[in-house]
C-alpha cells in the first residue's frame, strides 16, 4: 500500500504549517519525518491520519484520494499513535490493546482473530506479563509500550507514530525500533516522527527533513543527515561513523 501527498498546504490561524508538501511513503520501508521544533512534523502526521484538514492538495492511498475512502476502511488501513497518548479510565492493559481492534468490530464483541492480533501485539511490545494490570498502575515506559501495542493490534498496512520511543528506557527503545523495522520488512508502511537522530540514522530506511513547513530534503539517512543539513536546519555539529557495517550518528555540539 503506497501513501503519498501531493502539494499539501495546511494553514491554521493565518500561519502556514505545511507549505506545498509532496512526499512519498513506500511500503516495506521505515520512513522518518525529522526536523526542528515547529517544523510541521506532527502536523504532517496528523494530516495523514485525517485529523487535520488541508487547505490545498491531496493525500493518496494507492492512488485513491483519502476523502473518497470510507472512514471504516481508513481506520483499518491507517493506524495512528499520537504524541503522549492517554487513557482516561483505569482499563486493564489487554482491554486498552483490544481497542485497537475497533475498526473491525461489530458491537463490543471480539472474535478469535481479534484475540490473536492482540496477543501478537502484546508479545511484540513485551507487555504480555502486564495484561491484567490497570494501565494507570504502570510506569511511563510501560504505558508507552501498551499504547504502541494498541496501534499494532489493528494490523493496519500503514502505521503513523508520533515520537513513540521518547519515554522508553534504552533497551526498550532499541527493541521497539528493531520491531518497527521488522514490521516494515513484512511489507507495511511505517512513518515515524522522531527526534532521536542516532536512532534515525540507524533504523530508518528513508527520511523526510522538514523545516518551518517546507520540505528541505528527502532520501536515505546518510544522504539527508549531512553536516550541511544538520548545521543549517538543526544548528548542530555531529560526529558519525560506521559500526558493524551500519552507519551511526551522534549530535555533538550546538553551533
Amino acid at each position: 500500500m503506497t501513501l503519498r501527498t501531493s502539494k499539501l498546504i495546511v494553514k491554521v490561524n493565518n500561519s502556514t504549517l505545511l507549505n506545498n508538501i509532496s512526499v512519498n511513503f513506500s511500503a516495506g520501508k521505515l520512513t522518518g519525518i525529522i526536523g526542528p521544533n515547529g517544523a510541521g512534523k506532527s502536523t504532517l502526521l496528523r494530516t495523514l491520519a485525517g485529523l487535520q484538514t488541508q487547505q490545498h492538495g491531496n493525500i493518496f492511498l494507492d492512488d485513491k484520494p483519502t476523502h473518497e475512502i470510507s472512514k471504516k476502511t481508513l481506520a483499518q488501513t491507517i493506524s495512528y499513535l499520537p504524541q503522549s497518548p492517554e487513557c482516561h479510565w483505569a482499563l486493564t492493559v489487554e482491554r486498552v490493546v483490544s481497542l485497537g481492534r475497533f475498526p473491525y468490530q461489530t458491537g463490543r464483541h471480539l472474535n478469535q482473530k481479534d484475540i490473536n492480533a492482540i496477543k501478537e501485539a502484546c508479545y511484540a511490545t513485551d507487555i504480555q506479563h502486564l495484561v491484567e494490570r490497570p494501565i494507570h498502575q504502570l510506569s511511563g515506559g510501560e504505558k508507552a509500550r501498551v499504547m504502541l501495542a494498541r496501534a499494532l493490534a489493528t494490523q493496519a498496512d500503514i502505521l503513523l507514530a508520533d515520537e513513540p520511543i521518547v519515554s522508553l528506557d534504552p533497551r526498550h527503545q532499541l527493541e521497539i525500533m528493531a520491531l518497527l523495522q521488522t514490521i516494515a520488512r513484512t511489507g507495511k508502511t511505517i512513518v515515524l516522527v522522531l527526534h532521536e537522530l542516532h536512532f534515525v540514522m540507524r533504523y530508518c530506511d528513508e527520511l523526510i527533513l522538514l523545516d518551518k513547513g517546507l520540505k528541505i530534503d528527502e532520501g536515505d539517512p546518510p544522504s539527508v543527515l549531512t553536516p550541511q543539513n544538520l548545521r543549517s536546519v538543526y544548528g548542530i555539529d555531529s560526529i558519525s561513523g560506521q559500526h558493524q557495517n551500519k552507519n551511526w550518528l551522534l549530535p555533538w555540539n550546538p553551533l
Binding site: G50, A75, Y80
Partner: protein
C-alpha cells in the same frame, strides 16, 4: 496471568446484570407492599386482572404501582445518563444533577407546566424538560467537552445550575397560581409523591428512546477513553457519537425530571460504586448503572414512605444527604489528580 481469553468472557458482566435485575425486581415488589394503609395484595391483583374496581385495586394500581414504576424508570435514567455523561466528558464527576442538566430540565418543565401549556397538551411537559436538558448538555459540551479539566466542567456546571435555578424561581413567582412559588422546593429537590399512571405513560416513549440512543453508543464510549483524536482515527464518527449521547441524556433526564423534579446524585454514586465491578469499562457501566440507579431510587423512595414525618420527605433531600458527603469524600480522596 496471560489469559487473553478474559477479553472474550462475557459471563462476569452477564452475572452482574442478572444480579441487579433480580435485586430491582425484588425491590419493586417490596415497594408495592409499602404504604400507609394495609392492603390485601392477592384480591387486589385479582381485581386488576379481571378489570374490576375495588378500593384495594385502586390503591395498588393507581398509587403504588405508578410510584414504583417511576422510581425504576427515573432511577434507571439517572444511572445510565450519569454513566453516559461521564463517558462523553471523560470525567468521573459528570452527573446530571451536579452539572446543571437536571436544573435546566426542571426549568423547561416549570415553564410548560405553570403556563398551563401542559394542561392543553400533556406531552408538552416532558418535551419542556427535554428541551431544557438538551440546551444545558449542549452548552456544557461546548464549554467543557474537549477540555477534560475537572475544574472547567464543575465551573460550567455551577454556572448553568445557578442560572437555571434562578430562572425557575422567577418563573414560579410570575405564575398566577398562589401555590406556585412554594413549589420550587419540589422542582429543585425532587419527589415521587404524586406519581400517577399518566406520568408513566407520558415519559415512557422519550425515556426508551433516550436509553436506546445511549446503549447503542456504548462500544464507541470505550474507544473514547483514548481521547477524541485517537478515537476518530479508529473509525469513530465523533460528531454522530456526541450527538447521540447528548440527545440520549437529554431525552431520558429531561423526561424524568419533568415528572419528578431534580433528584440529584444518583448518576454520581451508582457509576462510581459500580465502576470497579466492570473493570472501569465505560460500555459495561451503562446498563449496570441503569439497574443500580433503579434499585437505589426504589430504596430511597421506600425509606421516604416509611419515615414518619407529617409531610412526606422529598426524595431529593434523601439522595442529597447520602450523595453530598459521598461527593465530598470523592474530592478529598483524589484531590491530587484533579488539581491538574
Amino acid at each position: 496471568m496471560m489469559s487473553f481469553t478474559y477479553l472474550l468472557e462475557t459471563k462476569r458482566e452477564k452475572r452482574l446484570v442478572l444480579f441487579f435485575l433480580t435485586v430491582t425486581i425484588l425491590l419493586f415488589f417490596a415497594s408495592l407492599l409499602i404504604g400507609d394503609t394495609p392492603l390485601n395484595i392477592a384480591p387486589a391483583l385479582q381485581a386488576i386482572f379481571q378489570g374490576h374496581h375495588t378500593i384495594d385495586q385502586l390503591i395498588l394500581q393507581h398509587i403504588r404501582l405508578p410510584r414504583s414504576l417511576l422510581a425504576i424508570i427515573i432511577g434507571a435514567s439517572l444511572g445510565i445518563a450519569g454513566a453516559a455523561l461521564q463517558g462523553l466528558l471523560r470525567n468521573p464527576l459528570a452527573e446530571p444533577g451536579l452539572i446543571g442538566v437536571s436544573a435546566s430540565a426542571a426549568l423547561g418543565a416549570v415553564i410548560v407546566f405553570y403556563s398551563g401549556l401542559s394542561l392543553i397538551f400533556p406531552l408538552a411537559l416532558p418535551l419542556g424538560g427535554i428541551t431544557g436538558a438538551l440546551l444545558s448538555v449542549t452548552m456544557l459540551f461546548l464549554l467543557a467537552g474537549r477540555n477534560s479539566s475537572v475544574l472547567t466542567l464543575i465551573l460550567a456546571g455551577v454556572a448553568i445550575s445557578s442560572l437555571a435555578g434562578a430562572l425557575t424561581a422567577l418563573a414560579l413567582n410570575l405564575s398566577p397560581n398562589p401555590y406556585a412559588s412554594l413549589e420550587i422546593f419540589y422542582w429543585l429537590m425532587g419527589s415521587l409523591s404524586n406519581a400517577s399512571l399518566n406520568h408513566v405513560w407520558l415519559i415512557l416513549v422519550p425515556t426508551l428512546l433516550g436509553w436506546w440512543l445511549l446503549i447503542r453508543s456504548r462500544a464507541a464510549l470505550d474507544v473514547l477513553s483514548l481521547g477524541e483524536e485517537t478515537a476518530s482515527t479508529l473509525g469513530v464518527n465523533l460528531s454522530l457519537l456526541n450527538k447521540q449521547l447528548i440527545l440520549g441524556v437529554a431525552l431520558s433526564v429531561g423526561a424524568a425530571v419533568s415528572v419528578s423534579g431534580g433528584i440529584a446524585f444518583i448518576g454520581l454514586i451508582i457509576p462510581h460504586l459500580l465502576r470497579p465491578f466492570v473493570a472501569h469499562r465505560p460500555s459495561s457501566l451503562l446498563i449496570v448503572s441503569g439497574l443500580g440507579g433503579a434499585a437505589l431510587l426504589l430504596i430511597a423512595d421506600m425509606t421516604v414512605r416509611l419515615v414518619p414525618t407529617q409531610q412526606e420527605l422529598k426524595i431529593g433531600v434523601l439522595t442529597a444527604l447520602i450523595g453530598a458527603p459521598f461527593f465530598l469524600r470523592l474530592i478529598l480522596s483524589s484531590r491530587r489528580e484533579w488539581l491538574s
